[in-house]
């Protein structure tokens, strides 16, 4: 505390002013009861969040739901359509099933692979190895880089003629390596492969989870004659299941919102092979300005994410073990 005295006084005065301003509503109404004053003070503190929630979240959701039942664009204004947008989405617009398919394939490819790879890395790094901190940093580093930079780097890595990946593939004797982001079949696998590069943040969570497993459990298992693999299966994995569960949910939610990669690397191509839901939404909303239609896409996306989250949540009773939970 080597703060200068005038500074401290000024700070105190500023604080006094702020306090008086915040207390103003209390004084105007004239409530003096401490509990009431505390409640009023609490709502003054909460006011930014309440404004945020009421306008930008609840209000916006309400409006967006309303818009999804209308035809709203720059020219016609707003016209009630009922379920028209949704009907068009599911039965008439060929691009929507495509976007749904692309996003689902990406998610079902990337989520299990990322979750598993991160777990394997964490198990390795949890061993007693040299320079553990340095390895951890190296594996984590890709996760701090932005989507744009990652996309630019990987577009170059996947370049069919001059990229590093095909150079390596040719080096090991594959004469006709895939054309990756320029080919309809290989563009999505390329995205999935690339998503593995970001396994570091999941890994950190697993490492924290692994650190939290009490060693007596392992000792007891050893006494019972369990070998390393049995200990992994019967101690580590059950104890880690809440972390796996958390990562799984977050990865599912994140993977369905994939946008930057397809926007920057492929623009949704070739032939819509990487047209993801959010890219589809972006085009409708911000290139064609069909706000009603785009809102219905947003609500379908929301519904899918909710359904998948609930599915994982429901299934968790079967495989997630919480300490302190009673055996059934």
């Amino acid at each position: 505390m080597n703060r200068t005295v005038p500074g401290a006084i000024a700070e105190r005065e500023a604080e006094g002013v702020l306090e008086r301003v915040l207390a103003l509503p209390t004084q105007v109404i004239g409530w003096r009861k401490p509990a009431t004053r505390e409640a009023i003070f609490a709502y003054v503190c909460l006011s930014p969040w309440i404004v945020h929630f009421v306008i930008l979240i609840a209000g916006a959701m309400f409006v967006s739901l309303f818009l999804s039942f209308t035809k709203t664009d720059l020219l016609t204004g707003t016209k009630w359509l009922g379920l028209g947008n949704y009907k068009h989405l599911f039965f008439e617009d060929p691009l929507f099933p495509q976007a749904l398919k692309v996003t689902a394939i990406y998610s079902f490819g990337s989520v299990p692979l990322t979750t598993t790879l991160a777990l394997l890395i964490a198990l390795m790094l949890n061993q007693n190895i040299k320079l553990r901190g340095a390895w951890r940093t190296l594996y984590y580093m890709p996760s701090i880089v932005s989507g744009v930079a990652v996309s630019i780097i990987w577009a170059w890595m996947f370049n069919p003629r001059f990229g590093l990946i095909n150079a390596a593939l040719k080096g090991i004797g594959i004469a006709n390596p895939p054309r990756w982001i320029f080919s309809e079949e290989w563009a999505l696998p390329a995205f999935i492969l690339m998503s593995l590069w970001g396994a570091g943040s999941n890994m950190l969570l697993y490492l924290a989870g692994l650190q939290g497993i009490p060693t007596p459990l392992y000792d007891a298992a050893k006494v019972d004659g369990a070998n390393a693999f049995q200990r992994l299966l019967n101690v580590t994995l059950p104890m880690l299941s809440p972390t796996i569960f958390f990562n799984l949910i977050m990865n599912v939610i994140g993977s369905f919102q994939i946008f930057t990669q397809s926007y920057i690397m492929t623009q949704g191509g070739p032939n819509n092979a990487t047209l993801t839901m959010v890219l589809f939404l972006y085009r409708k909303a911000f290139q064609q300005f069909r706000h009603g239609y785009a809102s219905s896409i947003a609500w379908v996306l929301f519904g899918i994410i909710m359904a998948l989250t609930l599915l994982v949540l429901r299934s968790s009773a079967l495989w997630v073990y919480y300490e302190g939970e009673l055996a059934k």
Binding site: L18, E19, E38, A39, F41, A42, Y43, C45, L46, P48, W49, I50, H52, I55, L56, I57, G59, A60, M61, V63, S64, L67, I121, M124, L125, Q127, I129, K130, L138, Y139, S143, I144, V145, S146, G147, V148, A149, I152, I153, W156, M157, F162, L164, A167, W197, S201, L204, L205, F246, M250, F256, Q257, F259, Y263, A285, F286, A298, L301, F302, I305
Partner: protein, 297 residues
Amino acid sequence: MNVPSEITMERARRLAVERWLLLAGQILGKIGVHLIVITGAFFFTLPFAWMVSTSLKQGALVFRIPPVWIPPKLIWSNYVIPWTMENFSLFYRNTAIICTLCVLGTMCSSTLVAYAFARLRFPGRGIVFLTVLASLMLPGQVTLIPTYVLFSRLGWVDTWLPLIVPTSLGSAFHIFLLRQYFMTISRELDDAAKIDGCSLLGIFFRIILPLSRPALGVVGIFELMYWWNNFFTPLIYLNRPERMTISIGLRMFQTRDEGHLEWTMAMTVLSVIPLIIVFFIAQRRFIQGIVLTGIKG
């Protein structure tokens, strides 16, 4: 024939072999783990190395097959020429200003909101906190279009307000993180301060905030990284180059495609470097924060 001694010798030999095998297995296992870790780390670093290598090459060398890893002559001008072509210093300045304002904004509001949840008694606390938790899981697309319409009606398109204002009204993620941290601070300190005549706001400023420096650091770093990396929001709201952030500036430069891939790579390296520096300075705190909340920034 001396049967018993042969059996004993046999057993001793078998035991020795077994012990030796076990030891060898352990050593081999250890070497194996190190090998796998090193190989994995190699693959994780490769894209970075490839980017840096490309960024220092002469144009003709970029498309050489098989690839050259270390260019015979390092072309540092790859970093200088594109920098002025697209006014990158402006993009950096803009991004830095936006990040600073967002960090300050969310610090001011989220701390107060979190304080109310962690310490104050008021009717409706459960419900209001539920709104925070629900917002945490909400995919942003459902609120995107009305928010965009609102901001464009307010004339905020092509200003930084759509980026700064929402987070300055409190972000669900930071509120949750700070509330969790505030809950760990002993209430006895509050009571002691109250007895000494400290007001509720005084407790916030004199007790909660000074004791929460680590959590505030985490919030600051997350917010900084988020806005440095964010692509979608600036893409929607910022059109004029004078307003742009580094992420869309970089994208714009990439689409201009001057036929110099090494320039794009050099600018990508530069866009990443500040983040890596911040990460290395604040690494411990950063990892703590991720572990504390379970979500990356």
